[in-house]
Symmetry: C2
Subunit: 328 residues, 2 copies
């Protein structure tokens, strides 16, 4: 029997879940929930209803895993605990500092109602977290490095759009090749923020806006740009729409460590992602963990979990015999 998936929120992430479910033959999309007028939301899967999010409770018992596609800032902190009382759920909560609080809230709701919940799933947090953990356990004496990009930062793009005179913008975070090379060499360099990443901005000005002032406001913006070497390109809306419409991302998790009686040997573990679509990869990870959630729920292993708590075999549609035969 297929795992019945519900999507709660139909933006970039919701659409990515829909695509990922289509690729997994043991998964079935049964409903999409939206805060908008359901009749205004067109989805791609034929025969699947779009339902008002206020009606979600009537779907209890008809959904194995509800994927919550909301934002970390305001949506998920209330949505996930509330929905974890009714459904097995998964989210991509990524506000690092608030993870302990979110975990505790979701765990309490899930345990009280015999549900399984996974929070902070995706690639960072998610696959990057896993690789940091494995590498730390294998090489206890060493240093961790995470680089992001080349990829679009939605938050930085939004920050530029808020500047007066800016019509549209796209910001790319780019890892510095020299820093990557130094890390890979096993030299355990200490790197400043500026040495690790540069920022490249493509900006469309409103008519009559002062390019010099806009550029200065960008490169001096605290938190977002002032600690980085930032380049700004002014382009037309047509160029932006044509050349920068994708949402690529990626990055690198590297750990260098020493082994040997006198720590005489150096090892470099590197995990990297090169992604054409940040939301589609994020949701591909989430759907694999949705499979695990359905299994854990059947076993009665209730409560809130992260990628750290789930044995890899639970993610696979294959049996233990099959994965040992083909992937070990």
């Amino acid at each position: 029997m297929s795992t019945r998936i519900g999507i709660y929120g139909y933006g970039n992430l919701g659409r990515g879940i829909e695509c990922a479910v289509k690729q997994n033959k043991d998964m079935e999309l049964v409903a999409v929930f939206t805060r908008r007028d359901p009749s205004s939301v067109k989805i791609q899967t034929q025969g699947v209803p779009v339902v008002a999010s206020s009606d979600v409770e009537s779907w209890v018992g008809k959904i194995d895993v509800l994927v919550i596609c909301g934002g970390s800032a305001t949506d998920l902190p209330t949505m996930t605990p509330k929905l974890a009382a009714m459904f097995n759920v998964i989210d991509s909560f990524d506000t690092h500092a608030r993870v302990p609080e979110h975990f505790a809230n979701v765990d309490a709701a899930a345990k009280q109602n015999n549900k399984v919940a996974v929070i902070s799933c995706g690639w960072d947090p998610g696959m990057f977290s896993l690789n940091r953990l494995y590498a730390n356990c294998v090489l206890p004496c060493g240093s961790d490095y995470t680089f992001w990009g080349k990829g679009v930062s939605q938050g930085h793009s939004d920050a530029i759009r808020r500047i007066e005179g800016v019509q549209d913008a796209r910001q790319y975070t780019i890892p510095v090749q020299e820093a990557l090379d130094a890390v890979r060499s096993g030299k355990n360099p200490e790197l400043t923020t500026r040495q690790k990443h540069t920022r490249e901005c493509f900006v469309v000005l409103k008519e009559g806006a002062d390019a010099k002032r806009v550029e200065n406001e960008i490169v001096t913006m605290p938190n977002y740009f002032s600690d980085y070497d930032t380049t700004v390109h002014f382009i037309s809306q047509e160029e932006l729409d044509c050349d920068h419409k994708g949402i690529p991302h990626g990055g690198f998790v590297i750990r260098c460590g020493k082994t040997g009686w006198n720590e005489e040997n150096t090892h470099v573990i590197e995990y990297s992602l090169k992604l054409d679509s940040n939301p589609e990869f994020t949701t591909s990870v989430i759907v694999a963990y949705a499979r695990a959630i359905a299994r854990l729920a059947k076993e009665g292993s209730y409560g809130c979990k992260t990628v750290f708590d789930i044995a890899p075999a639970y993610l696979s549609p294959l049996s233990g015999e099959e994965i040992r035969a083909h992937l070990l």
Copy 2:
């Protein structure tokens, strides 16, 4: 309380386990078992006894996890099931075709005696297997690639040493850069054995041996070299001892896959290792899994397992709260 580790077999792997235990403050080496005369075996850790392997049974109850450092061809198929009846055990069994049989034998012995066993632990099988599994689950529509090297192949070095006129030899397996680049580009190339790796041999001849004949015997050797582009360098024993004394290795696990409603987006997941010492990295992985075994045994989760069956958090000395705070 520390996890009490026993080492069964004191070669390259046994010495690696000894070094890795030293790096993990929650681990303690309590005994080294050898088939040689114990008085002839000097170990590095002060105050730890070297014991005849025939006396291992008298250590039941004094060891939490016994690490079996034997060869896959003849040692492990009998050693691991036998010892799994007495101890929680871990091995690095790597004869792929015989994994189902080995798993079944070890599982039966461990379950009958309420023990936990992990087989086929290390980096390949081991960390590479994990990365193949995760990547397959996240990107179900895609292709897998594994490259090995640059590194020393013990089996190929041994094969050269068996040729008449050869005094000593060291063989390096080298991934072909163009093949790696093609895979990373996301083009899903089909690659032959010859296109993926080359083999480089450093050979010391016995006095009077015919270099031309030896070279020909190497490059035409079936299974080992005939399917590869192989280069042979003749050097002196001094050069071999000085320039080729290390046991470096490494490699790459890459999966390219598509997502999107029409599979229009491409993603590349890459995991790579660059290792100064193959046995020391292998044993660093094993010691992390030994920690997991001790925990699983306390929980009463008996039987044979692989890296696929163990949740990542079990490998870490840190608590769930700590890993969520620092590594998520």
